[in-house]
């Protein structure tokens, strides 16, 4: 293929494409260089600057979160130290709490207390019944600080009104927490005479502290 001559070019011109003329003005060159600069800046922004800035932001966030957590833990430590001091100051009195809310039902002790109170009040104890019902469910145990189990009791005593009233008062002032749910005075015929009877129903609780599992 000879393209050196005009005839040769004319014969083979179908194999050539006419390219547009490359602009060579100052403005066009400026545009090209400006575009190259902007592309370079964009490239480094995406490849280098962005990961750096994201890492800095993440570290800042982490520092902020951990500083906040540190403050909360310090606050918790301070309250624990205060609680520890209060516990140490009142450690001698903890037996009182065990007596008021024992871990076991301790119904023999409770029965002895009822007998003692009845004797001190001068009334006759006719009957004394204990009944343990229900109990805290595992769900309740896991959500509450205290697992409380009820121990129901019922007392029947006879005597004169003032003594029975004393008995009731003594029961209400018991160190062990007793919840008196019902008290009834009845007149019962005994032979020729009438006898005043007091029926008391109540609940004594017991249990122990449990850990919160949530």
């Amino acid at each position: 293929m000879n393209i050196e001559t005009k005839e040769g070019y004319q014969q083979n011109r179908r194999y050539f494409v006419r390219l547009p003329r490359i602009p060579r003005t100052v403005q066009a060159r400026s545009f090209v260089w400006l575009s190259v600069t902007i592309f370079t800046i964009s490239f480094f922004l995406i490849v280098a600057i962005r990961p750096t800035l994201v890492t800095i932001a993440k570290l800042n966030k982490e520092i902020k979160d951990k500083t906040e957590a540190n403050k909360q833990l310090q606050k918790k430590i301070n309250t624990l130290i205060t609680a520890q001091e209060i516990y140490a100051r009142n450690s001698d009195n903890l037996t009182l709490l065990d007596e008021a809310f024992p871990e076991k039902s301790e119904f023999p002790r409770l029965a002895y207390f009822f007998e003692q109170v009845a004797t001190a009040s001068g009334v006759t104890l006719k009957s004394l019944n204990f009944e343990r019902i229900g109990g805290a469910t595992p769900k309740e145990q896991s959500t509450s600080l205290l697992s409380s189990l009820p121990l129901n009791f019922s007392i029947a005593a006879s005597g004169d009104y003032l003594k029975l009233k004393d008995l009731l008062k003594e029961l209400e002032s018991s160190r062990r927490i007793l919840k008196i749910t019902e008290s009834t005075f009845n007149r019962v015929k005994k032979g020729e005479e009438f006898e005043l009877q007091l029926s008391i129903s109540g609940q004594a609780s017991f249990g122990k502290g449990v850990k919160i599992n949530n």
């Binding site: 964009s42 918790k76 309250t79 009142n90 009182l96 709490l97 007596e99 008021a100 003594e170």
Partner: protein, 65 residues
């Protein structure tokens, strides 16, 4: 007015720069606001109330066993 190829490249470059800048801003914003996981669990942050009514003990001492 007919634009030549250099002007079109410049427009594309400017758009690329704008998008890159916006992407960086959004990435940083997301990194600052998105918590990956809480540092402490609710159980760990639960604060114990250390107050105790000590008069209860005096009251209990007065009561009978």
């Amino acid at each position: 007015m007919k634009r030549n190829i250099s002007q079109e490249i410049l427009i594309i470059a400017a758009l690329t720069l704008t998008i890159a800048t916006l992407w960086i801003y959004l990435s940083v914003h997301r990194a600052l606001n998105k918590g990956e996981y809480p540092v402490l669990s609710p159980q760990q942050t639960k604060i114990l109330n250390p107050t105790l009514d000590e008069s209860v003990f005096e009251e209990l001492k007065k009561r009978k066993i």
